[in-house]
Symmetry: C2
Subunit: 344 residues, 2 copies
């Protein structure tokens, strides 16, 4: 027996079935969306991200952003993964010193390599930024692009963080990985804009963040191309080419993307210019800074009352004040993140 509705529409039972299946499909698409940011506590930070995505992707919104312009940039150290007690890449470079000195024995008597080889912790504690750069450069120089990425992958699979005793690649912030995925699901290209080495981060960015090599913007050594033993090879030279930090972050972003991002995420003074440039654009813009205020679950350092200053991931009061003034959202790890790491 036909239902009154089917009779009224004068369609057959089978046609009604076809219609029903079609409607079922449509309904499935309209099903209530599951929370895209489950590791975030409800609050201003989470709500700001959700509202930003909604208003920039709803074609009826006055702040709609065409797909071609949907670009979001993320600092890495301290924004996507742990940067304390020392940047992962510096730990990597320290672990590599033995191999570096084996390849170039003369370095064993030169600082900063000598201090590392001798295990002179007092000298190492006094390393300047120039010393760290020398170590990082030497950890890469002379290796081909491919060989270097393999060395990093092997290291990342075996090295353990001193506090968490887990691989560094597990120390990525679950809420930020969700933000990356949520933005990508809404047509955003998510770029990493790091002061760290571009090739270092490329070695694991796809596996860890879902960010392909062409979306990694980082600091660069000079690279030489030559045919070596018949094989065309790109080799890292022992010379710095570009430091993708502070006022250079907008420069690196423009070089790689050629447009101003709609959204930028950072956590330190090194990200100030990236957020400043990003949020000075017209239309809906989003600037966010992660504040490390959770000594329990991660680390506590930064500008807010009671938090100690840090040489690593320096986040000073003037930048904190600028954030408040310009409407950048400061993300409190303690209050805004339900969980910090996926393994919790």
């Amino acid at each position: 027996m036909k239902s009154p509705l089917v009779s009224a529409l004068r369609i057959s039972r089978r046609a009604a079935l076809v219609l029903a299946v079609a409607l079922l499909g449509a309904c499935a698409q309209m099903a209530p969306v599951t929370d895209p940011l489950p590791s975030w506590n409800d609050g201003a930070a989470k709500e700001t991200i959700v509202q930003f995505v909604r208003k920039t992707t709803d074609s009826s919104s006055p702040q709609f952003v065409p797909a071609a312009q949907r670009v979001a940039t993320f600092d890495q150290d301290g924004t996507l993964w742990v940067e304390q007690p020392m940047y992962a890449q510096v730990d990597f470079a320290l672990d590599r010193v033995k191999d570096v000195v084996k390849a170039q024995p003369a370095l064993a008597t030169e600082e900063p390599f000598k201090a590392v080889v001798m295990g002179d912790r007092a000298a190492m504690a006094k390393f300047t930024e120039a010393d760290l750069l020398k170590l990082v450069g030497a950890s890469q120089a002379g290796l081909s692009i491919e060989a270097f990425r393999e060395v990093v992958k092997t290291w990342a699979a075996t090295a353990k963080h001193p506090k968490f005793q887990r691989p560094y690649t597990e120390l990525v912030y679950a809420p930020m990985v969700e933000a990356l995925k949520y933005l990508r699901a809404n047509g955003y290209r998510t770029y990493i804009a790091t002061g760290g080495g571009q090739e270092f981060v490329r070695a694991f960015a796809e596996a860890v963040y879902g960010v392909p090599p062409e979306h990694v913007i980082g600091s660069l050594l000079k690279v030489d191309y030559a045919v070596r033993d018949g094989v065309p090879t790109l080799t890292n030279a022992p010379a710095l080419f570009f430091i993708n930090d502070k006022a250079n972050k907008p420069v690196g972003i423009n070089m790689m993307i050629g447009q101003r991002p709609q959204a930028a995420f950072g956590n330190s003074d090194g990200d100030q210019q990236m957020l400043e440039w990003t949020t000075a654009g017209t239309g809906a813009r989003l600037g966010m800074l992660v504040l490390h205020d959770d000594a329990q679950r991660e680390y506590a350092y930064g500008p807010a009352t009671g938090l100690p200053a840090s040489r690593i991931g320096t986040f000073t009061q003037p930048v904190y004040d600028e954030a408040k003034k310009k409407g950048w959202i400061v993300i409190s790890i303690k209050n805004d993140w339900k969980r910090v790491f996926a393994f919790e």
Copy 2:
């Protein structure tokens, strides 16, 4: 009355209609594919492109390439558009000299600017590559990224090529624009890898080639970031940062993409290393070089018998010989292209 088929399937007339519409949709998708390269004559060059795309995108092919690795790079001058009698960007720079000298009057008495201001054609004919670089650098220096792109756009809309009396942006090769589109339709990201200025090409690449700013790799001036009159601004500095030519092309490509292309298209000695590196990769690779052998429809210059050498777009016999040896396809404009320009 129901047709026998509809009766046999025991479905109603309306259901049959629904089915018919669905089948129609499916059929439209299976309709015979129209030639994706209609401006190419049938022959080895066209066939090589089609076969390359087929074998790298058919998931049952042993030479299948996953979407993430589908990258193709294209030189611009002489590969995507006309480069004779002078690179378009040099013409642009010459047209800009008046404005440059107005902004910096001291340059009026300095070479190479003086010769241009005085219209000294004998001196201009002797300009070295260093002279041309100075003119090109000065045409950009001091302008913000945005302002420079606007200047280029305005110039491109008004300047005319001396032989064709058309805007340079109409002098793009129709067969190559088809190749770009065909590759993109098959999941390839098409990058421009030019010795020309990255910001110069970005000003029109999207409109002319469908290539967005993040897919333009070019030569770079140093860029400075600063807040000027309250506005965060990226400004071209009067200093060269990177020349994306010859052995630097693989370096620039790796910097921007982080992987080796599957296919590369060029036309001169400046593209040799890009093709060498590209085709040395494993699996299916494609290297192609455009030979300008058509004085009638475009220009004739290069290494093949009877073609004059050229300072612009130099394509020497050794590189031609290497192409033959390595299986790079040399595209003959005269024989392989049915039409050169869309306006023909």
